[in-house]
């Protein structure tokens, strides 16, 4: 029966070969994590909850890149472009429409703007024949150009809203609704909303990447030409994937505004900012969804904390982490942990450790040279 035999029923849709974790234990663990996240603000107070909110916003950006890169092979430095454009779009709509209905509409408009920007850029790239590394370069250039333009656009008005140049745009309150039924979103409600939206996005993407569509995405990632010769319209599919990725980044932009209420070009469009999602996704495991989320939150938390004591080293540390992860755990931490977990499952904790140490000793001995006493009874381990 093979790999087609995943459990059917509701949860079956969310499991498959393209994501890590399945079965009752996994879903239970996920439920526990969600409950812990929801309990967090009550335990630690508003400031720490606000910090975590910021890191969860980064998770959207990470998911957006994991989707287009990990699953379709499009290494994009442009997710920040859509993220930032969406944040600006939200500020522009909120500033111009200045009403609860306007703000509510603004949420949708901003997300769509993120998706639309990706659609336009993707169209010109994929239908213009830009491939592989040139896609990466193009997306990076677009982001940097937005930074440069953004910083000089100090008296540029969209409607009544000044884009503000390097000082950016701010918004006042976020009040949603219409007519008499309005709701003002403040912390910690903002935190809960973002957790809920992140969970929904994660599950939605999980279902998508495990579906037929997701399998074709993976085929495109593995070998574009082969996928095309199986009859799949690769250009169109990449465009769809890239647009969805832009929409997810756009969702991130809206949540960023809900957290911070202001946006400047440097924070979203700088080359450094554009590089972080690549680090998060690489370290977390780019062919998974949970990996990038965990890595984004963990790395941002570590970086922010470390930068208090060691400001310069915090940035260097992120770079070192990226290099180390590529060398030691090229599939990322999450699959690496899974591999380690499988290894210890197969051999048991005690035996597994002993074998690992044996092999290491033998490997070192071989390098040092000379006859080594090899334990004849030790197993030949197969990976």
């Amino acid at each position: 029966m093979g790999t087609d035999a995943f459990p059917t029923g509701v949860l079956g849709r969310f499991e498959g070969p393209n994501t890590v974790g399945s079965g009752t234990r996994f879903w239970a663990a996920l439920a526990v994590t969600v409950v812990a996240l929801l309990a967090y603000p009550s335990v630690v107070g508003p400031f720490a909850a606000g910090q975590l909110t910021r890191y969860l916003v980064s998770a959207f950006l990470a998911l957006s890149l994991a989707f287009v890169w990990g699953y379709a092979g499009i290494l994009s430095f442009g997710q920040n472009a859509f993220y930032g454009l969406s944040g600006y779009a939200f500020a522009v709509v909120v500033g111009n429409l200045a009403s609860p209905l306007g703000t509510t509409v603004g949420v949708g408009v901003a997300i769509l703007f993120g998706a639309l920007s990706a659609l336009v850029l993707g169209y010109f790239m994929f239908y213009g024949g830009v491939r592989d590394v040139y896609v990466t370069i193009t997306t990076l250039v677009v982001t940097i150009v937005l930074n440069t333009y953004g910083k000089t656009a100090s008296q540029v008005f969209v409607g009544s809203v000044n884009l503000g140049g390097d000082t950016g745009v701010g918004i006042g309150e976020i009040t949603l609704g219409a007519g008499p039924a309005t709701y003002t979103l403040v912390q910690p409600a903002t935190y809960y909303v973002i957790v809920a939206v992140l969970l929904a996005t994660y599950l939605g993407l999980r279902a998508l990447v495990n579906s037929d569509f997701g399998r074709v995405m993976v085929a495109i990632r593995e070998d574009e030409d082969r996928a095309e010769m199986l009859g799949y319209d690769v250009k169109f599919r990449k465009l769809v994937v890239f647009t969805i990725g832009g929409g997810i980044a756009g969702l991130g932009g809206v949540t960023y505004m809900a957290w911070g209420y202001s946006i400047t070009p440097e924070v979203v469009f700088s080359a450094a900012a554009a590089a972080y999602p690549v680090v998060w996704v690489s370290v977390g495991g780019r062919k998974t969804l949970s990996g990038p989320i965990v890595a984004a939150v963990a790395i941002e938390w570590l970086r922010t904390t470390a930068s208090v004591q060691f400001p310069e080293f915090a940035k260097i540390g992120v770079g070192v982490l990226m290099i180390a992860s590529i060398l030691l755990l090229p599939d990322g931490v999450v699959p690496g942990l899974r591999g380690a977990s499988r290894y210890f499952d197969r051999h048991g904790l005690a035996d597994g450790s002993r074998l690992a140490i044996d092999r290491a000793r033998r490997a070192v001995g071989r390098r040092v040279g000379g006859p080594i006493a090899v334990d004849e009874s030790s197993e030949v381990v197969q990976e």
């Binding site: 996920l30 812990a36 000089t152 904390t305 977990s341």
Partner: protein, 437 residues
């Protein structure tokens, strides 16, 4: 299957680890624990937050601000504190990073519960944290010279505005040299708005802007700019260049033999180019400022004056710059307002500030003997004493003119009155002056 079991186990373990990690997390490595138990100051200490850049892009200009705040705070504490309460200072380094500013601002407000906050060098910093300030109704002093126009009930922008700075030096140069002006400005918000003010002031002083050039912050090559200036042959140049790369302009213009006088609001007073560059790079540069180390006010230069006290505390400091004085006097303004209000509660202190606070030279060394500076309650800005300081070929800096210049844009043109109506807006000259466009 083996795979599925181990995956489950991993994810369970990972989930547990994540929960444990998150639950124990305390974001800044300080054992500040859960909810803030610190209450607003009552009998004992008053809490002041000072967020100034001591590293990163703005470290050169941010460090003196921080030092001057500390100088004022130490003086006040040595003198018995504010209404008998010692000042407790929270001053983490925001590292010229606006994301960090946002985080630290929230920390100051939510965890430290500061009674008053000083924060930020760049306008982008101010604007990044202003939404947080406004939502939390935090009393906030912004002390850098800036483009002007912020009418916000929580913000006291007490540094000189572009209109005040340019308004001190431009009329002087027009009188001395003639009506034709060439503007060079950094190509970002502050530079563009300052250039607008040059046009407004030119119109008010019977002068004319014959050319305008905006230069990217990344540029350090000015040969074409220098050519353009020579071709335009203005009577004087107005320069609002900013940042490390733009310092090269002064060196290059000296090498090119460009001798036209240059009026500026940005050079010398903040980044002390007249000390860092070799003469005669800054020859004929006229800075219009409320303060720089060389101003000849008695309170500044006398024995035991402001300069002496600063270098006593910081003997290795390279320079005492413009914004440092603003940090210094605004700390005393706060003290005075608290004493007037009789409490540390922020709404009452704000009201006291809005009734108008005046400081003499002892606490505001920019003012000459017998004069004062005033905090204008309606606009939350300061009527400054402005100086026109000129550098000669040997980089000696002397004062050629000085007068008090009140804040004009918000009070007269816009009609911002925070004592009667709460606002949270920033106005620009183009909204009000045809000539600025």
């Amino acid at each position: 299957m083996n795979d599925r079991i181990s995956r489950r186990r991993f994810v369970t373990a990972g989930g547990a680890a994540m929960v444990a990690g998150l639950a124990g997390c305390s974001s800044d490595g300080e054992a500040s624990g859960g909810t803030s138990t610190d209450s607003a100051s009552s009998g004992g200490t008053v809490k002041i937050g000072v967020l100034e850049d001591r590293s990163g892009t703005f470290s050169l200009v941010g460090t003196p601000k921080w030092k001057a705040s500390k100088l004022a705070i130490e003086e006040i504490n040595a003198d018995g504190g504010i209404m008998g309460n010692q000042i407790e200072l929270f001053d983490p380094d925001p590292q010229s990073d606006n994301s960090r500013y946002k985080q630290l601002t929230r920390k100051m407000i939510q965890q430290r519960d500061v009674d008053v906050l000083w924060a930020g060098y760049a306008s982008s910093t101010r604007e990044a944290i202003r939404p947080i300030i406004d939502r939390q109704d935090q009393l906030y002093f912004y002390t850098t010279q800036y483009e002007g126009g912020v009418c916000d009930k929580n913000v006291f922008a007490v540094g000189p505005t572009a209109r005040q700075q340019l308004g001190s030096v431009l009329p002087y140069l027009r009188e001395e040299y003639g009506p034709k002006i060439y503007t060079i400005a950094a190509d970002y918000n502050f530079g563009q708005l300052s250039a607008d003010w040059v046009k407004v002031l030119a119109d008010e002083n019977d002068a004319e802007v014959v050319g305008e050039e905006f230069i990217s912050l990344d540029t350090s090559q000015f040969s074409s700019t220098i050519n353009n200036i020579q071709e335009a042959d203005p009577d004087f140049v107005m320069s609002m260049l900013v940042g490390k790369n733009h310092t090269a302009f002064y060196k290059q213009k000296a090498s090119a033999g460009l001798e036209v006088p240059i009026g500026t609001s940005t050079a010398m007073a903040q980044g002390y180019e007249h000390r860092r560059l070799d003469p005669p790079a800054m020859e004929n540069i006229y800075a219009g400022v409320n303060y720089m180390e060389e101003i000849p006010s008695t309170a500044n230069t006398k024995d035991g004056g402001f300069v002496d006290r600063y270098y006593d505390m910081y003997p290795d400091a390279p320079y005492l710059n413009e914004e440092a004085e603003t940090n210094y006097f605004s700390t005393y303004m706060y003290k005075k307002a608290v004493e007037q209000a009789g409490t540390f509660e922020q709404p009452e202190v704000r009201e006291a500030l809005e009734s108008g606070i005046s400081l003499g030279p002892e606490r505001a060394p920019e003012a000459p003997e017998g004069e004062t500076i005033e905090l204008d309650g309606a606009t939350h800005h300061v009527d400054h004493h402005m100086w026109v300081m000129k550098a000669d070929a040997e980089h000696n800096v002397t004062s050629v003119a000085d007068r008090k210049i009140p804040e004009q844009f918000l009070s007269e043109t816009v009609g911002c009155d925070l004592t009667s109506e709460d606002e949270e807006t920033q106005y620009t000259p183009r909204d009000y002056f045809e000539e600025a466009k």
